[in-house]
């Protein structure tokens, strides 16, 4: 914790603004929650490496005043694995879009989870490929409209939290940009967690997903996050179990973290035992 009041200018590279995100995009709120979480955790900016892939969400890494690595589509987690394993004292945060993380990058996602390497994956889920102009993603779900689904999608969607859990992630949580404060608190927990942590954040793309699917403007879409989601353990969820769940799905500390496990390999190897 730190006593200094939060000033976003302490954490961004003002030189690189304005950002590229459309008016009404939820990604700025994710950035806000993330920076507040980092501020409240009192992390040193030089101890953070933010690694991203390609897409609207991935530009987030350039805007922040950390070590930042803007890589290629889908592979951010693999680059981050190299960074983290060679310098385990660094905090590795990997913001990804839904297509980036779970279509082209799906293999890296499940294997990073399986290894339980201490990386925080933030899946900014807007259910669409925004940067390329509104094609459906593996999180769009069926019956949606997209520029590559003029007759509606027939593809089913992943449940990010269930997928991460099955693949072995040791911290899994979900929130939305409507719940910015809750989101910040969960990001804090995700970053503090030792092991692979997955934080899914529902964030609106009014430009493509909203317009194509007649979900209204940014405000209406955020209203949707309020109405259509419910906290785990809440009365609201009990009454309406089909709502999208928010909160912590997995939080376990009984699995060895990958870099720490590798340190033990080094110890063994140095003693000359094969």
């Amino acid at each position: 914790m730190t006593n200094k009041p939060f000033d976003f200018k302490d954490y961004i590279r003002t030189r690189f603004f304005p950002h590229i995100w459309c008016p009404g995009c939820g990604h700025g709120i994710v950035l806000g929650s993330l920076l507040r979480a980092i501020h409240e955790l009192g992390l040193d900016k030089s101890d953070i490496v933010m690694t991203s892939g390609i897409g609207c969400s991935s530009r987030i890494s350039g805007y922040v005043d950390f070590h930042s690595l803007h890589t290629i589509h889908g592979r951010a987690l693999s680059f981050a694995t190299g960074v983290k394993l060679s310098k385990p004292n660094l905090k590795a945060i990997v913001p990804m879009g839904d297509g980036d993380a779970l279509a082209i990058g799906g293999n890296h996602f499940i294997h990073a989870a399986r290894r339980n390497i201490d990386i925080t994956a933030i899946v900014m889920n807007n259910r669409i490929y925004g940067m390329t102009g509104g094609q459906f993603s593996p999180l769009s779900g069926s019956g949606k409209k997209a520029t590559t689904a003029p007759y509606n999608t027939i593809d089913r969607n992943f449940d990010v939290a269930e997928l991460a859990k099955s693949a072995g992630a040791t911290f899994v949580a979900r929130s939305t940009v409507f719940h910015a404060n809750e989101c910040k608190n969960l990001i804090k927990k995700a970053i503090s967690h030792k092991g692979f942590s997955v934080m899914e954040i529902l964030t609106q793309c009014p430009t493509y997903y909203g317009r194509k699917n007649k979900e209204g403007d940014a405000v209406q879409m955020m209203e949707g996050y309020k109405t259509n989601t419910a906290k785990l353990g809440s009365k609201k969820l009990e009454k309406n179990p089909d709502l999208i769940k928010r909160g912590i799905f997995v939080e376990r500390t009984d699995i060895p973290e990958y870099c720490e496990a590798y340190d033990k390999i080094i110890e063994t190897a140095m003693k000359g035992k094969a």
Partner: protein, 384 residues
Amino acid sequence: MENKNNIRFIQGNEACVEGAIYAGLDFFAGYPITPSTEIAEHLSARLPQKGGKFIQMEDEIASMGAVIGASLTGKKSMTATSGPGFSLKQEALGYACMAEIPCVIANVQRGGPSTGNPTHVSQGDVNQARWGTHGDHSIIALTASNHQDIFKITVEAFNMAETYRSPVIILLDEAVGHMREKLTIPEPGDIQVVERLRTSVRKGIDYHPYLPREDDRLPMSDFGGEHRYNVTGLFHDMWGFPNNNPKVVSELLRHLVDKIENNVNDINMYKEYWLDDAEYILVSYGSSARSAIHMAKNRRSRGVRIGVLELQTLWPFPTEMVREKCAGAKATIVVEMNMGQIVTQVKNAVDNPNNVFLANRIDGQLISPTDIKTVLRMIQGKGV
């Protein structure tokens, strides 16, 4: 008396491992693939013994990504693969070109395309090493025909990766990678090891990660160190921030190509055998060169004025050197195990391309001295 502890009887792939360790390798990420797997196997044992890191990734692409990430933290990093895996790595390899990340990729070549001929020799990836990734760029690719040279070019690959801030490809092949012969490990200091050029800019002062110095070099700052900066695969300005201003784009692309092409002579490594009076010159590399040298030695003993130019740097191609060396030859025969990937370069280099011939073999078998002799006899008009 030689120190026997320094003498190994090992595979070429292990010679590559020994060279990498000598050069200061800290990090390896890879994925199993024949015929390169021994490199990963040996490094999985060797790296943790010196506090380094080995990771077997989920695929070839991830391996290349991890190597780039590790290099940015200041660690000398490499991966090893073969044809299909080399194809998969190409996008990330291009990223390393664009973002100027030092790293080494060993490709132990097998027959292709596709799954091809996994356990058999080929030199079919020479052009892929040059142009495998998309877009204009320049690249360094080294090769060798014996274990002592594999060791040496591996050290040089790391040296060049640091000097030119570029991925460097080591193009081995199944024959030399798998065969066993003697390797004498040089003492520390026998081969110079180049360390990373790090910035002298102090904390608090603006560090421009992509502003070349007068000598065109870009001092680096380790991720996790004092300077926080951006790295991207997009065209970028001196801050490392995305920029598509036409001037920025063209200057960066020229820099990426020039930093290598302007240093062809420094990057060029080769060996020559009996070239002084040679009427016939065999230009070869990798395991093919062994057959070329064998054949030339044999013909020399029968009075034929023949010599061998063994290339160790394939890219950037040493055009000037090849032109000079082959200038006096009646005929130049390029010996390689592909459909003619270096012969095109040699034809392009020499004054009279009609005197350049190809002696090749593409069936998964190591080209033999007899194969080359047959081509020579045809050129001499002696028939087969």
